[in-house]
Assembly symmetry: C2
Homo-oligomer: 463 residues x 2
Amino acid sequence: MIQEDDQQHKPDQGMKFSSMKSLDSVLLTDLYQLTMLQGYYEQGMDKTAVFEFFVRDLPSERGFLLTAGLEQVLQYLENLHFTAEERDYLKSTGRFSAGFIDSLAVLRFTGDVHAMAEGSVFFPNEPILRITAPLPQAQLVESRVINLLHYQTLVASKAARCVLAAPGKLLVDFGMRRSHGGEAGLLAARAAYLAGFDGSSTVLADPAFGVPGYGTMAHSFVQVHDLEAAAFEHFAHAQPDNVVLLIDTYDTEAAAQKVVELAPRLAQQGINVKAVRLDSGDLFDHARQVRAILDAGGLQQTRLFCSGNLDEHQLRAFVEKGVPMDGFGVGTLMDTSADAPYLDCAYKLQEYAGIARRKRSEGKGTWPGRKQVYRRYDDNGVMATDIVTLEDDVQAGRALLRPVMQAGKRMQPLPSLAESREHAQRELQTLPAPLRKFQEFHYGVEISAALKQLAHEVDMQPH
Amino acid sequence: MIQEDDQQHKPDQGMKFSSMKSLDSVLLTDLYQLTMLQGYYEQGMDKTAVFEFFVRDLPSERGFLLTAGLEQVLQYLENLHFTAEERDYLKSTGRFSAGFIDSLAVLRFTGDVHAMAEGSVFFPNEPILRITAPLPQAQLVESRVINLLHYQTLVASKAARCVLAAPGKLLVDFGMRRSHGGEAGLLAARAAYLAGFDGSSTVLADPAFGVPGYGTMAHSFVQVHDLEAAAFEHFAHAQPDNVVLLIDTYDTEAAAQKVVELAPRLAQQGINVKAVRLDSGDLFDHARQVRAILDAGGLQQTRLFCSGNLDEHQLRAFVEKGVPMDGFGVGTLMDTSADAPYLDCAYKLQEYAGIARRKRSEGKGTWPGRKQVYRRYDDNGVMATDIVTLEDDVQAGRALLRPVMQAGKRMQPLPSLAESREHAQRELQTLPAPLRKFQEFHYGVEISAALKQLAHEVDMQPH
């Protein structure tokens, strides 16, 4: 830092090195990881380090969080290596010693990972991932591990609120276009599905993760036709099994009437209008009017699907008012987690060479040591309280952190995404009622006596 | 939509198809693009369509926006194609006809692109990109074009405010870890640099884009040493040309004193402490105290670098109060554009088969036709007013949209990132003073008489 690279004007022609073309490159990290690794190398510091990922505080708009992204973290750790090109690049920067760069050729992730299952509810100060590995490995992975866990957890936590707000409604992720880059769009589809969405409009999310695809038409399809009714008819013939017509391009109710007029002709050809979509204006009002027009026209089976700047609060309002909507496309506000676009999360050193460590920076202090979280339930199976303690301080309750990787290898395959999705639904059902209703509620997370004692002992050490 | 894919539990093992492994896959799009393309195919609708990308309204926290992402859009268009694997996947979904899927084998982008130069200031209703191409091509690219332009523009616009707030200070992007996915982290580094930042902590942004790298140490480096002073000394030996020490792990002022005590010993070995970094607590207060300690200890040349939840408002406050900070790391709040995490942007059909088109959806109406934006300046070279009009309605002022791609080929290389960065600095210098100061100010964007007349004529058409 405060070290400029040479400032010549480099061409902006995309990646110059083939092994750095993808986000899988180990160089998708912060430079300080590498400068620190150089320091560790010079000092021969490669004893076992323990880092944990946790959230310090909840955003004011969230009462709980849902874990997501573990699968991508494990893939990242399994793939961790420096290609020859990447090492050549590092050499070219002049920042690192030849010996250090050579040592990177054999660097792989050989550590252990403990984690909460994807789709688990969690709260501040609870580690959801622990990495135990030789210091350089555990350090190097910090930036991308945070990047992968943070975003999917952010979106899954937002999506879970939509699921709670609109039980029984079809929920589809529509947010790729305004998500922050392509990876966000793709991973948002996964995170939303994990949290209970039915699918996503993002095509690639199906071959990538098995997230069911949903899609209809855009306004442009209507606009390129001189007559809206012709657009509807053409679309019905092109997608006879999936006729969902967007009816708000010009005049919503007039378009609904056109659908009614078109439907008998389509029916003669065996084509049903499965649904209409509303995307603008007062959705409350339009939905009622459109439902009435469709019903009066004999299209009681045609469903209503709505989109346009929706979030959990809108969904809840629709449901509470009994507006006759059957499904919702939720996009930008979920995929950017717009009301809480980041989490105050960290990946922090807890132990090195067998000695517990703690950062005491003002407002950013951490609890030292290898930790476990126990969750206790009331007689109705509702979450009652969590306790965060040291790994070897066994408590009553369900232990949430489990070993998932040992010596760099998965101990067994993680649950499938569909299985994690089912786990998430069970988790949401055990939430205290106020959290299910987005009411002010502070869930109790207790710090154990053993953990407080260790923190005190660590603080007594001179630095 | 409302069309579930088969719901069997697919394994969540990452991409199954090699050509779909990367975000370059054409399937990183919305499913409705493909269902619409099937409709266009059935109807033989492949005449020239014109789409424009624009922002409808500014977030309340922004007085202007800065364009970014054009280079990535052109790369995407140049690469547009369906691999055999991707076509096989589409076939496997059962949603599309064989003839349509076969037609995708030869689909390439053969259209024209007009755009504002990257690093240009722009306002609502001003197209920053226009695509003129056969309808299926122009339609298909919508989702990813929005995705690429939206995010970089979002970050460049936020970063530009930081640059305006802290003139002459070193500004470094620190945000990768909490950006939304890896592509966001990488592109945020590019967008921030374009807007005037000095560099980024993201290593890959240098080989990818020539963004200078910056990096120091994390708290963990201090914590793995029993003594903070030993950590400082080890880091100085490992990075002798770039000694920047993080001093807030335990007690900031005590650490500053340790730096003073260490400095003479390092100086004997020819090593200077280039800077110290503060990352927590009351940065105002700590910076003054640390500056005094360093100065009293003879380290007047050692610079102060600060990070920790910074944005343009913090930077401005520091600068206005004359706090002795030399540089800033700006991270999460910029890379997520936290106070305005998305733009109300759209990519909308303006013309098809030579006829202007307009969507009239409530609150989402658009101006029809192929447009140009002219900017007029006052005698001091400050932006005075913009006028949005039809392409063939030549007006006084500087035309902001220029042709950059013709028949699918770049007309010439775009400016380098460094050149675009210089352009952005010139643009920021021509902003009206209230916009430079984040004051309430509504910059005048006039809709021309010709454009209003065309909109009126389009509205007269029956639909």
